[in-house]
């Protein structure tokens, strides 16, 4: 299941009521860092086309359960203004074996970055802002230096 929240993401205790066939749990936390492409970031703001983001996000989760031998996967993405180190996205994948969980988790974050209609505006310490454009972010071999920004 994919969801959007305006609230701070609280990392859940996953050990409660786990099905007994689960042998591997992989989680990913995407946090706001204080730099991007050699610029010092003060904060950032996420904006979403919410209905479509949820629809596309759920499609990605469904694809992950088809492509990889996993039991279940969840993804939460936060929108609004975020401070440095805040959690922007949290993914958790449950499976019987670890490899499928690792692979599915990577697939989900890569596809979210490529397809889900969410945008990120960075606020720099010099007062400027820019909308981040992550073209083909999920393609292998794309480095951060290849991300470009439209500086306002």
């Amino acid at each position: 299941m994919f969801s959007i929240t305006k609230d701070a993401i609280s990392i859940s205790d996953l050990s409660q009521n786990l099905p007994k066939n689960i042998g591997g749990i992989v989680t990913f936390e995407g946090r706001v860092r204080n730099h991007n492409v050699n610029r010092s970031v003060e904060k950032l703001e996420y904006e979403a086309f919410e209905d479509m983001a949820i629809s596309e996000g759920n499609s990605i989760i469904k694809e992950a359960t088809t492509l990889f031998d996993i039991e279940e996967a969840f993804c939460i993405h936060r929108v609004g203004m975020l401070d440095i180190s805040d959690v922007a996205i949290w993914i958790v994948v449950f499976s019987e074996h670890r490899k499928a969980a690792f692979d599915a988790c990577e697939f989900i974050i890569d596809q979210v970055k490529e397809r889900v209609p969410i945008w990120k505006k960075e606020f720099y310490i010099d007062g400027k802002t820019s909308w981040v454009k992550c073209l083909a972010c999920s393609a292998k071999g794309v480095t951060h230096s290849e991300h470009f920004h439209h500086v306002e």
């Binding site: 995407g30 086309f49 479509m52 974050i109 969410i118 992550c134």
Partner: protein, 81 residues
């Protein structure tokens, strides 16, 4: 004429100065023609080739035939996660 609604996000929203607008277009207007017209009006910073289009909540191909009542969203390059 077709009555459509256009939805804006991110830098397109900032340039348009609004979240959405309702407008009329000629039957047969392509997505590229519509975007080009809006781009001229609002000075969008992105070329059409960098944009994806959605109708309702689903991506469509650029050759999609716009229909009366469609809600069109031009999607700038996404940056979630």
């Amino acid at each position: 004429m077709l009555n459509i609604k256009i939805q804006y996000f991110a830098n397109l929203r900032e340039k348009a100065g609004q979240n959405f607008e309702e407008t009329k277009i000629n039957d047969g207007t392509t997505l590229e023609e519509l975007y080009s017209s809006l781009s001229s009006k609002y000075s969008f910073p992105l070329q059409f080739k960098l944009i994806k289009a959605a109708i309702g909540s689903s991506y469509v191909q650029n050759n999609y035939k716009i229909k009366d009542g469609d809600v069109v969203t031009f999607i700038p390059p996404v940056a979630g996660g």
